[in-house]
Amino acid sequence: MEIPLTKHIKQGAFPLTAREYEKTGGYKAIQKALKEMSPADLITLVKASNLLGRGGAGFPTGVKWSLVPTGKDAPKQRYLICNADEMEPGTFKDKYLIEGNPHQLIAGMIIAAYAIQADKAYIFLRWAYKKSEVILRKAIAEAYEAGYLGKNILGTGYELDIYLHTSAGRYMCGEETALINSLEGKRAIPRNKPPYPATSGLFGKPTVVNNVETLCYIPHIVENGAAWFKSLSVTGEGGTKLYGVSGKVKNPGLWELPLGTNMREIIEQYAGGMMDGHKFRGALPGGASTDFLVEEHMDAKLDFSSVAALGSRLGTGTMIILDDKTCPVAFIHNLERFFALESCGWCTPCREGLPWVEKLLQSIEEGRGKPENLNILKFHTSYLGPGNTFCAHAPGAMEPLQSGLKYFHDDFMRHINEKHCPWRS
């Protein structure tokens, strides 16, 4: 089984330096991309690979790049942004890639930037990733030294600077347009779309925002081609994916597996199955803002379209497991408290709806709930649905709630009827 993204990552070891990375054949893709391919060739290639964005929404990366205006009238200044904010609770995949092999990311960024003809790129790094910050700073310096960054890269005349920006903390910064505002030094409020960042992004200039994992794939696709990439996955969506599991399993962690690997295999084989004495009740397949999958979905193939077909989302591919010793109401309450606090405060339904949801869940959890509270919760799941709010934050927040209300209805009712949380004595 091929694991291109994590092949050179050794747990506990220092990441490869630029020189070491070169020796493994890394940076070869840059030679190829910059010297043998035109930006248009690259976009065609990535389109052909059907690489779907790994940031959570699964938008085809090649298509995103192709939206950047290129004609004579197009603005000269363009930007590439690497979204390394990764604040989705339960998600830790980008950190692994950054800390394990920063040059893979830098190589990906160089090629992506070249493809959209950007001469400046920013890495927007999560505040809490202190170690990643150190590693990235060092790696970027090495890349400059080795001539992969700066002016006249590899003698091609192409120029690129990469800057590292660390966040000041807010989940909303991960939303690409809020990220752009934050990078501009403003409050991280999302922007209306259209216009999309591809036409008016950072400083009003065409901008592409890609996730770390997405960018890490670019050198491999350049090196091995679209057909190779497609052949990696179980299903048709192409490539491998970092899958993670946290919660009460024997061996929580992160694995690179073919995209479309089934859930049972990941939980039972890789994560070692549930801890002794704990039963599986459900899982958020791709971070906090995805719908629960339950026992009946165990054999689901985890790719974007298959998970969507089950009413959830692949999201970031990092699973959070709910076990039978954990109160589902408390579990969901924890999530909604997070989402309520992380609302940016711009649009009404999210700003006011999430705190209400949070308060209701808390009172149910504490045994003060009333049956009609469930109606209000249910109402919010559609009220805060996609399109109704300004950005995807609130709809994401509603995913675990709406599926939780469906799958764990009895548990909610027990709280209400027994007037206390059955999981607490």
Partner: protein, 902 residues
């Protein structure tokens, strides 16, 4: 071209480029909304304007969209009444009411509250939220605005108006999620000149009018009248509201060609001079020159007046640029045209005349405020417009957005998509150049500034003109800096599609006006139309300028020459227009000085006979603004609660004087007819504004809303019977809640109200489209039209350039929005914002005198000794200084002039 759209099964015409919400509002369809404001565009934050959009005729399900963010496209199918969206909008209100205090009974906004309206309109009426509400602390925001943050519904309109639209710096949004706070970094005075608009922009009671609070009355209990602001020459339209005989508040009155949705703080909060204790309220008489004014019995008044009027050999009348055309006209009839003086200094009169001539004969177009907003390149010559014509500054601020907006629209971003537009534009602006002796607030928008004496600012203008056209006379003095700047400005103006020059008379420099005219004419010869806006000093400077009459200097001469027995001064404090040393002997020399004024000031207290008259709130009148637009204001106080208007007073004096013209002047319209017949320049006014006998289905227009309350209780301490409403013979308006239910003609709208919309948002339903013209056309009639062919020749450049003198400073006037205009300066709230008299000097010059910021310094100006505070301003050129103009406690100084440093 229009597109066809289908709304709830009916077909309508829509304008492409507009958004769906604006389109619905223009069609009179009630679509609830909060964050959208026509002047500020859409941001899609509140989510209240949700409607359904269907892909095509087969789509039954549709999709919720925000109408404010949706461009109108041909064939689009939408529904406002769709049950899903009805429920969704109610849910938005439920969300907003979660934390909103249910304090409507004690809230200033109550009854005129956008939030109340939307709550009712969406049908949200049952509270399901049973947790505690979040609360906030309030801040002290200065004398104008009251802050009550708990009422906030986070629509972000306040910061968008205050910062993005008006360029304010000291209001922001703090925090995030459901703890966002709109206020200042720390409590303190809101400094922006347009802060008062927050009162109207805020859809609920967070920002309310503190002056109204000081004498609060329910808004539906106000009697209202359409009026025109009297505090500068721009003529912004206002609504005055009255209760129990005092004016309670001023609101902006929409005029799509003038002030649009907004007014400045001087206009909004300056009104309290009307209720001031310092009002002239009684007829006072001085028995002999050495006595004080007394309040005598009527027969004494009668005999004093008839002695002064019928016993005089010569009577002269001094008019006023702050009195209506009608008041000035009656005075000129009383004393005879040849004895009518304008009551402005010779210098000022010449400046006004020059401006008028340039506009009448030249090729430049006199733009309205709205047209100023449309300019794509602006040159400001010698005016600090934020302080002399505040709303013009707001308009220029909007004009700087034209270039970015054009770029945005080209990139496919509609102009109403506000945040997207601003994000794309970043710091791109249409060019503005400002030539002024020191920094002004608008400098932050300027592509470049030129700081020099007024002479050299004029020289710069001449230099630009001569760069345009070889026939424009070149000037003698030209520094390299000036040449470079002239070239730069030339390059911008020649590229512009819609260039604008703003100048005015506050500098006292005719050369500047000449230079502006030369640029316009030179541009015209190069085939380019240019707009030229002259900022004048008073609300009727332009109107008075269009009448025949001599200057105050001429009046002084004639009185000093002997033979004038009686001098009648109309609403004019001459001591603000000429030196005391000049005026005192004039007052002594006349047997009788009759002063008609509403304020006690130096002139009225020097009167031998003081006749109190009504303010703008107690009279009808016509004012001509700087654009040349004649506009009518209407009384809000009935005669019973007012002092008589100046024209009525003068008419009575005419009767005493035995003048027969007055016999037929019983109503305001009689004076107007007589005036428009007599003075050709005003002939257009007649018929433009509806006569007093105008009726709508036989009914008058009501000044009171249908919810007006307490008619029988108001006077219960006197009598319980309901008094007959006061009569109003002078206008088609009535002091009553009974009257026509039709929408009045645009110039006569006393207040805005549309079923379902009790707040100022109802304004939108009076317009042909949001941001557009009032239905039936914007009020006012332009009296000056640009000549087909210019008959103006180039002016010859002045002979002067600035050279510093030893131990002297060239003093230029520093106008203050709060303080330099005398009427507003006596309003208590404004008073709190008036600085003490000061002088602006640069650091070097101050150091030479051994003074620091805040120290007192003594200046001698033609024998006058002035003590003022030093203010350091790095931008004022060495050898010159700025002297605060017209602040209370300062004597008149004829600026610019040289001042000796003591």
């Amino acid at each position: 071209m229009m597109v066809k759209i289908q709304i709830d099964g009916k077909y309508y015409d829509g304008k492409p480029g507009k958004n769906l919400l604006e389109t619905c509002l223009a069609l009179g369809i009630n679509v609830p909304h909060f964050c959208y404001h026509a002047a500020m565009g859409s941001v899609g934050a509140c989510r209240l304007c949700a409607v359904k959009k269907y892909k095509d005729a087969n789509d039954r399900k549709g999709r919720i969209i925000m109408s404010c963010m949706e461009p109108v496209t041909d064939g689009m199918i939408v529904s406002v009444e769709d049950p899903d969206t009805v429920a969704f909008r109610a849910a938005i209100l439920e969300s907003l009411m979660i934390n909103h205090p249910h304090d409507c009974p004690v809230c200033d906004e109550g009854g005129e509250c956008h939030l109340q309206d939307m709550t009712v309109m969406t049908g949200h009426n049952y509270r399901r939220f049973d947790f505690r509400k979040r609360t906030h602390n309030n801040q002290y925001l200065g004398p104008f605005i009251n802050h009550e943050m708990n009422r906030c519904i986070q629509c972000y309109r306040c910061v968008r108006f205050y910062n993005d639209y008006a360029g304010g710096k000291d209001l922001a949004v703090f925090g995030s999620h459901d703890h966002v706070y709109f206020g200042r970094h720390e409590p303190g005075v809101l400094e922006n000149e347009f802060s008062g608009n927050l009162v109207e922009v805020c859809p609920t009671g967070v920002f309310t009018d503190k002056t109204l609070k000081g004498h609060y009355t329910r808004k539906w209990d106000l009697t209202n009248a359409p009026s025109v602001c009297v505090h500068c020459s721009l003529g912004c339209n206002i609504i005055a509201g009255e209760r129990y005989g005092s004016v309670r508040r001023i609101m902006s009155r929409y005029n799509g060609s003038v002030n649009g949705y907004f007014i400045c703080d001087r206009g909004r909060f300056g009104y309290e001079f009307v209720n001031d204790g310092n009002r002239a309220r009684k007829t006072l008489i001085r028995s002999t020159k050495d006595k004080i004014l007394e309040d005598p019995p009527p027969d004494v008044i009668d005999s004093a007046l008839s002695a002064a009027l019928s016993g005089s050999k010569k009577i002269i009348g001094i008019g006023s640029p702050r009195a209506s055309l009608e008041a000035n006209f009656t005075l000129s009839v009383l004393v005879g045209k040849e004895n009518f003086y304008h009551g402005v200094s010779g210098k000022e009169q010449k400046l006004i005349n020059t401006a008028l001539q340039i506009l009448q004969k030249g090729s430049a177009y006199s733009p309205s405020l709205k047209e100023i907003e449309k300019a794509d390149a602006v040159l400001i010559l010698g005016e600090d417009i934020t302080n002399t014509a505040p709303m013009a500054a707001l308009a220029v601020r909007q004009a700087t957005r034209n270039k970015p907006l054009e770029l945005g629209v080209k990139a496919g971003i509609p102009s109403w998509n506000d945040t997207a537009q601003r994000e794309l534009a970043q710091d791109l602006k249409s060019p503005v150049f400002i030539a002024f002796p020191f920094q002004t607030q608008l400098d932050e928008l300027a592509e470049d500034t030129f700081r020099a004496s007024f002479e050299d600012i004029a020289n710069l203008g001449f230099a630009i003109a001569s760069a345009f056209h070889e026939s424009a006379p070149p000037l003698k003095f030209m520094s390299d800096e000036m040449l470079k700047m002239a070239q730069k400005i030339y390059n911008i103006l020649i590229e512009a599609k819609n260039p604008l020059i703003i100048t005015g008379i506050h500098s006292g420099s005719a050369d500047i006006l000449h230079a502006a005219s030369n640029i316009a004419e030179a541009l015209n010869l190069s085939g380019k139309k240019v707009s030229l806006s002259f900022l004048l000093t008073d609300c009727n400077s332009m109107g008075l300028g269009m009448m025949e009459g001599k200057s105050l200097d001429d009046a002084v001469d004639i009185v000093n020459g002997g033979g004038v027995d009686t001098m009648i001064i109309l609403e004019n404090d001459l001591y603000r227009k000429a030196d005391k040393e000049v005026l005192d002997p004039v007052f002594a020399k006349c047997n009788t000085v009759i002063v008609l004024d509403h304020m006690m000031n130096e002139t009225s207290s020097k009167a031998d006979i003081l006749l109190p008259v009504g303010t703008f709130a107690e009279a009808e009148g016509t004012l001509v603004n700087n654009e040349g637009r004649a506009q009518r204001y209407y009384r809000v106080l009935p005669l019973e609660k007012s002092e008589p208007e100046s024209w009525r007073r003068i008419r009575d004096l005419m009767k005493i004087a035995g003048k027969t013209e007055a016999a037929s002047w019983t109503e305001f319209d009689d004076v107007v007819s007589s005036m428009t017949d007599t003075i050709p320049a005003f002939s257009k006014i007649k018929g433009h504004m509806p006569d007093a006998d105008f009726r709508m289905l036989n009914q008058k227009i009501k000044r009171q809303t249908i919810r007006f309350s307490g008619r029988t209780a108001m006077n219960a301490n006197i009598a319980v019977s309901e008094p007959k409403p006061p009569q109003d013979p002078d206008s088609p308006l009535t002091f009553s809640m009974e009257g026509s239910d039709e929408s009045p003609p645009s110039s006569l709208v006393p207040y805005y109200w549309t079923p379902g919309w009790n707040s100022v948002q109802s304004m939108n339903f009076y317009l042909d489209e949001p941001n557009g013209s009032l239905k039936g056309g914007d009020p006012g009639i332009r009296l000056i039209e640009t000549a087909e062919n210019s008959s103006l020749s180039f002016f010859v450049p002045g002979e002067l350039s600035f050279t510093p003198k030893k131990d002297e400073w060239l003093l230029v006037p520093v106008y203050q929005i709060f303080g330099s205009e005398p009427l507003s300066a006596s309003a208590p709230a404004i008073k709190e914002r008036i600085p003490s008299p000061f002088i602006l000097v640069n650091k070097q010059d101050a150091e030479k005198t051994g003074k620091n910021e805040g120290d007192e310094i003594t200046i001698e100006i033609s024998q006058k000794i002035l003590k003022v505070k030093v203010k350091i301003d790095e931008t004022i050129p060495s050898g010159s200084a700025g002297l605060s103009f017209g602040l209370p406690g300062m004597p008149f100084v004829n600026l610019p002039c040289w001042g000796k440093i003591k």
